[in-house]
Symmetry: C2
Subunit: 318 residues, 2 copies
Amino acid sequence: MYYAGIDLGGTNIAAGIVDDDGKIIESMSIPTGAQRNFHEIVCDMAELVKNLCQKKQISIDEIRAVGIGCPGSIDSEKGVCEYSNNLNMCHADITGEFRKILDIPVYLENDANAAALGEYEINAKGSKSFVFVTLGTGVGGGVIINGEIFRGFNGVGAELGHTVINVDGEKCTCGRKGCWEAYASVTALIRQTKAAMEKHPESSMHKFAQEEGKISGLTSFLAAKEGDKYANQVVQKYFEYIAEGITNIINIFQPEKLAIGGSISKEGDYLLKPVSAMVERDDYNKYMPKAKIEIAKLFGDAGIIGAAIAAKNALNRD
Amino acid sequence: MYYAGIDLGGTNIAAGIVDDDGKIIESMSIPTGAQRNFHEIVCDMAELVKNLCQKKQISIDEIRAVGIGCPGSIDSEKGVCEYSNNLNMCHADITGEFRKILDIPVYLENDANAAALGEYEINAKGSKSFVFVTLGTGVGGGVIINGEIFRGFNGVGAELGHTVINVDGEKCTCGRKGCWEAYASVTALIRQTKAAMEKHPESSMHKFAQEEGKISGLTSFLAAKEGDKYANQVVQKYFEYIAEGITNIINIFQPEKLAIGGSISKEGDYLLKPVSAMVERDDYNKYMPKAKIEIAKLFGDAGIIGAAIAAKNALNRD
C-alpha cells in the first residue's frame, strides 16, 4: 500500500506517493497561489493526489491515507489550520474540506514537525530523542521524543527559531527582538553579507553577487572559500550564531541526534565541522555521552515523506 | 508506608519523611561539608534517615524507599553522580555506598529534576507537560512530560539556565557568555543592583543595603516598592530578563503549566504579574490555548518531596 505526502508551502505545493518504507515513488509540484481562498488550495491538493496516482498508474484506492504538512498553528487532532500567516488561513478546516473531495483518511501536521518526522524515520529511527533544525528563509524545528512528535500541550511547541539569543537584538518577524531566526536564517545571512559588502567594497563578495545577479545565501560562502577575508568573517560569525542556538537546544533536550537541514545545510562538512566544534566547546554536558550532530539527509523531500509517515502513524493509532 | 526524600545541596543536606500523599511528616537538615569525601556524605545521609525515623518514632522498615536529589550530572539508572562541581564528586556511586549502610531501595536523581517532579506531583498533577524554573543562586529547571521527568538521552538535559539569551554577554559559570542564568539568577540581580547603586549614590538602595548589612537580592525590590526610581529600573529590567527566558521555554515546550520557584519567587504577584504580561506579549503562540504561568507552591520543600516521589515512582516501575 501507499501513502500520499503533501508539503504545503507558501510558494509551492509539493506532493508525492510514498511507499511503506518511506520512499517517494512519484512526485509533483505546483504553485501554491497562497493568497487564494483555502478551498481552492484544498481542491488543488486533492487534484494533485489524483494526478500522482494517474501518473504512477495506480488506483486511488491504493492510497491508504494522505498527510499534509502545513505551516502555521495546526490543530492536528481536529485537522484544522488555526492560523497561517504564509497561507492567509484562519480556522481553516483543511481535512474536512479535503474529505469532501477525496474520501481517504487525511491528517494535518505542522510542516516543520512533519519534516522532522520524515528525517527521523529515515535517518534517525530508534534514537530516543531527535531534533531537526532547518536553516532556510526562517529557522524551523521539530522535536521527536520516543518516536513521537513533541508538540507541547497546545500543539504549537518546538518553535526553536523563535528563541531570543540576543536580547534587544535584530527585529524578528514574530515581533520579538533577537530571535535565533534573526541571526541564523538565510535571510539573516544575506543581511549580514550585505552589511559586510557595504563596508568592504574591495571584497570579492561583490564579484560573486554580480555573477549571480543578486546577494544570496551563497555569496559569502563562495567568496570565503576563495579566500576572501571579509567573507570569511561573515561566514565564521554566521557559524557562531548557528552554534549558539544549537548549543541552547542541546543543553535543553540533550537529544541523541540533531540534524541540520534547510538550504544552507547543503554546505555539508564545511558548515558541520566548525559548528560541531563550537557546540562541543560550549555544551554544558562534559561527562556524559554527547548528542550526535549531522547534516540532514532528505533535503527537500523530508516534508513529503514526513507528511506521509505522519498519516501512516495516525492511521495505525486510530 | 513512607518514603525518605533527601535534598543534597552544596550547603545543607535537607531530608524528610514523606507520606504517600507527598506530605512531609518529619524533616531535618545538617551542613553538607561539601569538600569531604563522598563516602562521608553518604554516611551522613543514611544517618539522617535513621534519625528522622527515630524522631518520628517509626521503624526504619516503614521506609519503602529513599530518593536523593543531587546537583550535577547524574546517571539515574546506575545511581551514580558522574560529576558534581558543587560537591566535588566524580563517578561517585552514591546509591551503591548508601545500600552498604542501609538496605533500603535508594534512587538518585538530579536535584532540579527532583524539585520539578515534587512541584508537579503536588501542584500540577495531570498537566500534559510542566516546566519548573528556579531562580536562585543559579537558574535551574526541570521538565515533566506526560508525568515523566524529561532528561534527554544521556540524563543531563533540561539545563534551562544554560541557554544563551545574549550572545557575547555576561560571563556564565558554565564557560559560555550570555546564559540566561547570568541575567535572571539572584547572583545576576545582585550584580545589576550593585551597578545601579554605583551609578546612583542618591538611590535608597544604599539605605536598604546598609540596613541588611549587604547588597542582596532583596535590595532593589525593597527600594523599588518604596518608590525609588533607579531600583525600579533594576527590577523592571530584571523582570524582562526573566521573561525573555520564560518566553523562550514556552516557545519550545508550550507546557500546560510553568511554575517559577527559587528564592526570588517569594515576591509572588509583584514578580508574576509583570513577567506574565511580558511573556503574553512575546509568546509566538497567538491562536491556541496558552501555557499557565504560576509561582511555585512548595518553595524549599520541593527537593525533599520530589526526591521521595522519584523513589516511589522508581519503586513502582521496578
